[in-house]
Every structure is written in structure tokens, then in C-alpha cells.
């Protein structure tokens, strides 16, 4: 009994391994990476330098992101998606949290914010002990792993209009948008991460990934202010199934959608208060 179980689990893990990586991981040489030692960041009034972050990177980041920045640090093997996403492979130059359109590089500000914020629902810690100068240097360090930061410029950040006043009409319209563009296919009609497509999602490296559950009290990885949520669905999280909706949601409607999403979330908000008077029903999964 024991042996059959073992054999089966062995067979299964082999099968899983064979089915896994759809994309070969980048394997740059140390020389290639070192050739970008002069990479800089310009953020928060500082100019960040690679060599000034070498100590901090080695001390605080290498365990997960690895010497070569390829996400293969010591700890990586113990992280099992979807509960624990793998550390980012910086050589690929693909990032989830961006203010820039899908398929473009993030700005220095984006990386700077991410490093301070950490990534919820992952092993990536909150790094609020660093000074801004240390963080600026780390941004340069993260960038120097990828040749993309030499050959390309960051995308142009999307424009976010000022946040309007929450009204019952806006929340109702946000519900319409949620139904029309079909966020529920993945996130579920009540935002509980149980849409019809939720169970089959994988990220670009072939690992299982689950949609964000709006209702369980956790926070979006890329920030939990209203502006952050606006930015998340207008830029998408690159490297994951979460697409960009920039072509399909108008700026004003996007705010309505943010307000509607707030009604799912446990965190207190004006939208949640206003929604109490509305008795909204979940959208239909069969329009």
C-alpha cells in the first residue's frame, strides 16, 4: 500500500514536471549581467547605482531571487504555487505591478513602490526598513539583470483621471461593466475567485495560479488604494492570465468598476456604505 502510494506520487510528480515549464528560463551568463553594471535608476530624487545595492541584494534578496536574479535562490524550491508563487526571474524583465501598458517595462517608480510594498499572498516581504536611497539602488540592481532595460524604454504610464464621488448610479454602472467585460469568468460573479475558468489558470512559466479573491480580506499585490485597483485592471499583471482591459473600459467607467469591486471587499469603504442601500444582485453568468 505504502509503496504503491509512493510510486504513484513519484509518477505523478514526474508527469507534472514534464507538463510544466512552457517557456525556457533565461540563462544569462555572469559576464552578460556584469556588462550592465552601470545601470541607473532615477526615482524619488535619487540616482540609484548597481554597486551600491550589491550588499543589500546579497543580504536580503539573494535567498529567493538568486545570485543571477533568475528566481532560483535557495528558498525557491520550497515555494509551491499557487499558494506560494515562485520568486520573480528578473532576467526576463516581466513584472506584474506596472503603471505601464501590458507588454512594456515598468517605470523605476513602479519597482520602487513594489519593493516597499512587498507582494501580498507571496513570500515577497514588505521592505519598509530600507531608506529611499537603498531602495533606489535596489531598483537599479533589479533592472541590471535584464537586457530589456538597455534595449527598451519603460512604457508610458496610463493616465488615471481624478477619482469621482461615489454614487449609487456609479456602483450600478460598475456592476454593468463587470458583467459586460466578464471579469467573472475568472473572478466569479461574487468576486470569490471561483469563476468557470478559475480552476485551469496557469502563469507564463506553466505554474498553477488562482485569481484574486476579493472577499477573503487579503489585499491586491500591486496596492490596495482605489488608484491601485484602477491601474491593476487597466494594465494587467504581465506573466499571468490577468489581462489588460485598457482598450475595453473607458476611464470614467473604470472608476465605476473600482467602486463596484469595493462592494465585494471586506475593507471599509464609501462604496460599501453606499451599496448597502442598493441590494445589488450578483451579475448573471449566462448573459
Amino acid at each position: 500500500m505504502r509503496t504503491t502510494l509512493l510510486t504513484w506520487s513519484l509518477l505523478l510528480s514526474v508527469a507534472v514536471m514534464l507538463a510544466l515549464p512552457s517557456i525556457s528560463r533565461a540563462q544569462l551568463t555572469t559576464e552578460d549581467i556584469a556588462s550592465r553594471d552601470n545601470m541607473e535608476s532615477h526615482v524619488a530624487g535619487y540616482t540609484g547605482h548597481v554597486h551600491d545595492a550589491a550588499y543589500d541584494y546579497r543580504r536580503y534578496c539573494v535567498g529567493c531571487h538568486g545570485e543571477m536574479g533568475d528566481g532560483n535562490g535557495e528558498v525557491a524550491q520550497w515555494l509551491e504555487p499557487p499558494m506560494w508563487p515562485k520568486p520573480r526571474d528578473f532576467q526576463l524583465g516581466i513584472f506584474k505591478c506596472r503603471s505601464t501598458p501590458t507588454g512594456t517595462l515598468p517605470t523605476d517608480d513602479d519597482l520602487f513602490d513594489t519593493i516597499a510594498r512587498g507582494l501580498d499572498r507571496s513570500a515577497m516581504p514588505i521592505w519598509n526598513q530600507f531608506t529611499k536611497y537603498q531602495r533606489a539602488n535596489l531598483v537599479a540592481y533589479v533592472k541590471h539583470f535584464s537586457p530589456r532595460f538597455v534595449s527598451e524604454k519603460p512604457g508610458t504610464p496610463i493616465v488615471i483621471p481624478p477619482e469621482p464621488e461615489v454614487t449609487p448610479e456609479r456602483i450600478k454602472n460598475g456592476r454593468e461593466v463587470f458583467a459586460r467585460v466578464q471579469c467573472w469568468k475568472c473572478h466569479g460573479v461574487q468576486g470569490m475567485a471561483n469563476g468557470p475558468s478559475a480552476s485551469t489558470l496557469t502563469d507564463d512559466l506553466g505554474y498553477k495560479i488562482v485569481p484574486f479573491n476579493f472577499t477573503d480580506g487579503t489585499r491586491p499585490k500591486c496596492g490596495d488604494t482605489d488608484r491601485d485597483i484602477y491601474r491593476i485592471f487597466m494594465t494587467g499583471l504581465d506573466g499571468t492570465p490577468m489581462p489588460s482591459f485598457a482598450d475595453n473600459i473607458k476611464p470614467d467607467e473604470a472608476w465605476d468598476l473600482v467602486f463596484y469591486l469595493r462592494t465585494f471587499m471586506q475593507q471599509k469603504s464609501k462604496a460599501k456604505e453606499v451599496a448597502k442601500t442598493l441590494s445589488l444582485k450578483p451579475v448573471s453568468a449566462n448573459p
Binding site: 526576463l92 530589456r148 466578464q182 469568468k185 507564463d204 492570465p241 489588460s244 449566462n286
Partner: protein, 242 residues
């Protein structure tokens, strides 16, 4: 005086002849282009292309109620012809493929049409949706070669215009409908994709000797050599086994 007129006449005659010759030579060149044509066969028993369960999305089920869809990864026709093989010229050094129309990659009845779309590096193509259900279009190139992106296309979404920078066979998928798989074949120069009988014709190939490659998903490539004579069709047949 007489002399002068003569010179003028000679000069204009010369100009005329030159222009004519130039025009003519261009015509001759165009007529001199040959083609490469042939059949790609699948050897042995083709794997079973299983039917697709679309029950995740009732709209997709309804759209295909009359003709249920099946996998297209090894689509073998009645005569053993293999469909969706991209045939192209290896190491093409001529100009980019001059396409008069923009290739279109459609999301139709919850499938990609065409399943395999060939484009030149830098060539603009369109991604559109004909469906009344939401898709997300998510090409996954090797990020070291081309840059991945992921955009939603809900019902009525406008077409997206895109291009790829570098040659690569790029898998495309929809995360909402995990059975939706297609390919963007990015190769330099003339290219053709085999039809349901495994037949293809690469047009506009200047006379010369070529190495011709046939690619079938996910990563099998066969190679052969042909010589194209002016205005003639050269034949290059291929066979694949899995």
C-alpha cells in the same frame, strides 16, 4: 544647326530606350519569380484528435452545437496530408514579404482562425473577435526573443493591431478558454501554411537555390533543398511522423 537637332533626337531616343529597357527588365524580373509548392504528409497512424469539452462556457457550446470542435495539433486529411504546417525559406535575405493585406487572427466560435498565422517580423497583423463571449489573447513568446502581452477582448471589442519584432514560433492562448491554442509563426520572407490536404504554395520566390523548412507544432522541423528556375514551380514535399 542640323547637327544640334540630331543630338537632341539621339538623346531623347536614348532616354526612351533606356526607360523602356528598365521597365521591361522589371517586368521580366517579376515574371521570372517562381514558386515552391508541395505536399506535407503525416506518416503512420495519426493520433486521435479528441473532441473539445467547452462546457465551461455555454456560449461556446451553443456556437458549436452543429459541428463540435476537436484539437488541431495534428490535423491529418483524408489522403494523409498534414494541415497547419508552416513552410518557409531558411536564411531569407531578400526584402520582407510584401503583403497587400493585413493578416487577421480571429477568435471565432471559441477557436482561433486561423490556427496558425504566418507573419514577417515587423509586419502588422490584427487580432479580432467574432464572438459574443469574452476572450483574453495571451501570446507567450520566449521573453528573451519577443515581448509577451495579455489583453482582454470582450464581445464587441475593437480589433487590436500588433507586430512581432523577431523570428519565433509563438504559442498563443486564451486563459478563459484553456482549449484555445494557436500559433504566430514569425519568419522572414515568403511563407505558406498547408491546407486541409497538406498542400502549400509559396509564391514570389526569385530564381535560386534554397533551404526550405517545414515547421509543425510544437517544435518539429523538417528541412530540404530546392532550386527554383525563373517562372517555374519547384516541388518540395515533406513528411512528418510523431
Amino acid at each position: 544647326m542640323k547637327n544640334r537637332i540630331n543630338v537632341g533626337a539621339v538623346v531623347s531616343a536614348l532616354v526612351l530606350v533606356c526607360c523602356g529597357a528598365l521597365l521591361l527588365s522589371q517586368k521580366v524580373n517579376a515574371a521570372g519569380e517562381g514558386k515552391i509548392t508541395g505536399t506535407v504528409k503525416f506518416e503512420g497512424t495519426p493520433p486521435h484528435m479528441r473532441g473539445i469539452d467547452m462546457s465551461k462556457d455555454p456560449w461556446c457550446v451553443k456556437a458549436n452545437a452543429n459541428t463540435p470542435q476537436h484539437l488541431q495539433t495534428t490535423e491529418v486529411g483524408a489522403g494523409g496530408g498534414l494541415e497547419y504546417v508552416a513552410v518557409y525559406i531558411d536564411g531569407w535575405s531578400g526584402p520582407a514579404n510584401v503583403e497587400t493585406s493585413t493578416p487577421v487572427f480571429d477568435q471565432k466560435n471559441c477557436m482561433y482562425v486561423p490556427h496558425v498565422m504566418a507573419v514577417d517580423p515587423g509586419q502588422t497583423f490584427k487580432v479580432m473577435t467574432s464572438d459574443q463571449t469574452a476572450h483574453n489573447i495571451h501570446p507567450e513568446p520566449n521573453p528573451m526573443v519577443n515581448i509577451p502581452w495579455n489583453q482582454s477582448q470582450p464581445p464587441g471589442a475593437p480589433p487590436i493591431e500588433k507586430s512581432w519584432k523577431n523570428p519565433e514560433m509563438i504559442p498563443v492562448q486564451c486563459n478563459i478558454h484553456p482549449w484555445m491554442h494557436g500559433w504566430h509563426v514569425v519568419v522572414k520572407g515568403p511563407v505558406a501554411v498547408t491546407d486541409e490536404n497538406g498542400k502549400y504554395t509559396i509564391e514570389n520566390v526569385p530564381p535560386g537555390s534554397y533551404t526550405v523548412k517545414a515547421w509543425h507544432e510544437p517544435d518539429t522541423t523538417e528541412t530540404t533543398k530546392v532550386t527554383v528556375a525563373a517562372g517555374q514551380a519547384a516541388t518540395a514535399d515533406f513528411s512528418f511522423k510523431k
